[in-house]
Symmetry: C2
Subunit: 342 residues, 2 copies
DNA sequence: CTGAAAGCGCTTACAG
DNA sequence: CTGAAAGCGCTTACAG
């Protein structure tokens, strides 16, 4: 037994109240058709609409116009602290121009990504923002094939021609290494993120490129399977089993760094006294941890805003050429890095 | 110049491909009408649908059925770490039964709440979950008036008869005070949350009730204006200006506690040596902070799930009587509480 | 079991 | 400036 829903007031109710045709009401209530209606009628319609508690049925409007004023967002997991600021940036920017955002968690499972995309297509979303891209990503291909406006955020794909708002990873990694070198570290290891993601891969590449330039050993790279605390811990253990000559670690992101620190605590290594460590992202509360993690600030909220602006531009037919925005990260020095002790 | 969108494949395309009427396709593709169609036809329709890449236009379907398979969620701010787990619980539960969730941030501004609700009504959401309730809340009244299925989560309103998934605040506060008393604290202060919220108010009431029972002074209550770090800091300063005889603080939530700790650091008070402090919520990373905050775990994800189940029950007409679910919090002892020193 | 028709609430090209 | 009509893509009561 379904609930009875109260019948909503429609454009026809307003029309009847004013004594005009409902198409006139539609025009009077539409910001960009309003000027075709006499001001007197507009006024009357607005008053009646307000009095009756009318609000436009976006569903009907969408169906007719074949646009939904909605965009979809694919993220791995809302509970990962990297994403809330990105989403908030997306929401604020989209809502400012009357768009609604629909978010789906995919848990990095391709099947969930596909399902989410289907759902969004069914809701006629006008575009999607993906924070879930792998370097080779069938979902990205699917969007392109289906001609769905798409902007990647944070992560990107290997192939060219896809809109993306990403980071200057070289700059980020270099600023971290410069900092570590200034503290006399000469054996620096890297706990990399998953190599099937652009962030994991590019940071590792930037790391090894930059160490090479400085004639430092680049063999101390261990890639984690996921960007999580637990996988950071595991990767650190693998690294340590292989080599213990390093005095500093550059982690692929903050969660990996936290995992490394957990692993160090397990084996009695002190941060930063024995080993210095850096993160990447600058997720919340890092400054309150013990020790406070030195990291690279990623402008998460702003990236969400930029990705949305880009997407809206594509939807409106403004952006023709694929746009790749590369944002500038910024080193934040805290207490997890200190002068090398060995 | 708007983009040209590729025409989507409709039920008619599938019908033509199979050589049946489109209403037959509609039925064949609808799980609960499928049995009215011969298995052979169903099979053919499904094959054709798959081949053509058909997916149901939920917008059109919603318009006709007058239900959208979407629910709305109102939260103050996604970036407040309390909310992501709640939302994830809502999303997981809703998506499991084919519902989409639309989230809006209201920043605790009544106007934004109203706008968000309008937007959601325009999208024909079938119900809303509110995490933004004030004790007297016009938006709640509006939902009831408009007959929109509504479930409050975390916070509730003073008036009876509104569905809500909340906490056993008495239990939470008592477990904290018991813990503090076991550590010999006799002058315990409370930095309360905003008194126009049920959580702020009920926790303060539980605090003062329970201290009274134990014949302890209940004058050390200072309410913050918002549940934020900054307002926690301010409230602590006000408290300290008034009285400095307390040895322990019960904060209205974790963010307030963090603000108190910041303020203590400013004036050289040590936690837990000089003053013990407890939080409420158990937001992420507390265990990594220095000192790690003793707190009351609120089952955030589960509350999101329960609120959604309740809402779905109302939508389906199962729950008639208003349901109030009171979840059990749980004390988590960490390093911010120790034996009283004065 | 299947088809033909009506209609959900809008928008918009076409008349006037 | 306004009205009448058609139609967006579905679903469903009514026939057969």
């Amino acid at each position: 037994m379904k609930r009875e829903r109260k019948r909503k007031v429609t454009i026809r109710d307003v029309a009847d109240a004013v004594g005009v045709h409902h198409s006139t009401v539609s025009r009077a209530l539409s910001p960009n058709k309003r000027d075709k209606i006499s001001p007197a009628v507009v006024k009357k319609v607005e008053k009646a609409a307000k009095k009756l508690g009318y609000y436009r049925n976006i569903v009907a409007s969408s169906l007719k116009q074949n646009r939904s004023f909605a965009v979809g967002v694919l993220i791995p997991d809302l509970m990962n602290p990297v994403f809330p600021p990105i989403i908030r940036g997306i929401q604020d920017t989209a809502e400012a121009v009357g768009y609604t955002v629909i978010t789906a968690n995919t848990d990095d499972e391709p099947e969930k990504e596909r399902d989410a995309l289907r759902m969004m297509q069914g809701r006629s979303i006008e575009g999607v923002i993906m924070a879930t891209a792998r370097r080779e990503d069938p979902i990205v291909e699917e969007c392109i094939e289906h001609d769905i406006p798409l902007v990647l955020v944070n992560r990107t794909v290997d192939r060219e021609g896809v809109n993306a708002v990403i980071l200057d990873e070289n700059y980020g990694i270099r600023s971290v290494i410069d900092h570590l070198m200034s503290l006399k570290h000469t054996r620096i290891a890297h706990i990399a993120g998953p190599q099937h993601t652009s962030t994991g891969f590019q940071r590792a590449k930037a790391f090894s490129d930059y160490l090479s330039i400085h004639n430092m050993p680049t063999d101390l790279i261990e890639a984690a399977n996921k960007f999580t605390i637990e996988e950071g811990r595991r990767a650190f253990r693998r690294l340590l089993a292989r080599d213990n000559s390093f005095s500093a670690i550059v982690a692929g992101n903050d969660l990996l760094a936290l995992g490394c620190m957990d692993a160090m605590r397990d084996v009695g290594l002190l941060v930063p006294e024995n080993i210095a460590i850096t993160g990447y992202d600058d997720i919340l509360f890092l400054e309150r941890m013990s020790p406070a993690l030195t990291t690279v600030l990623v402008p998460k909220y702003e990236m969400g805003c930029q990705a949305t602006k880009t997407l809206l531009g594509i939807i409106d037919g403004e952006n023709k050429a694929p746009v790749v925005l590369r944002m500038q990260p910024r080193l934040i020095i805290r207490n997890s890095t200190a002068i090398a002790s060995r």
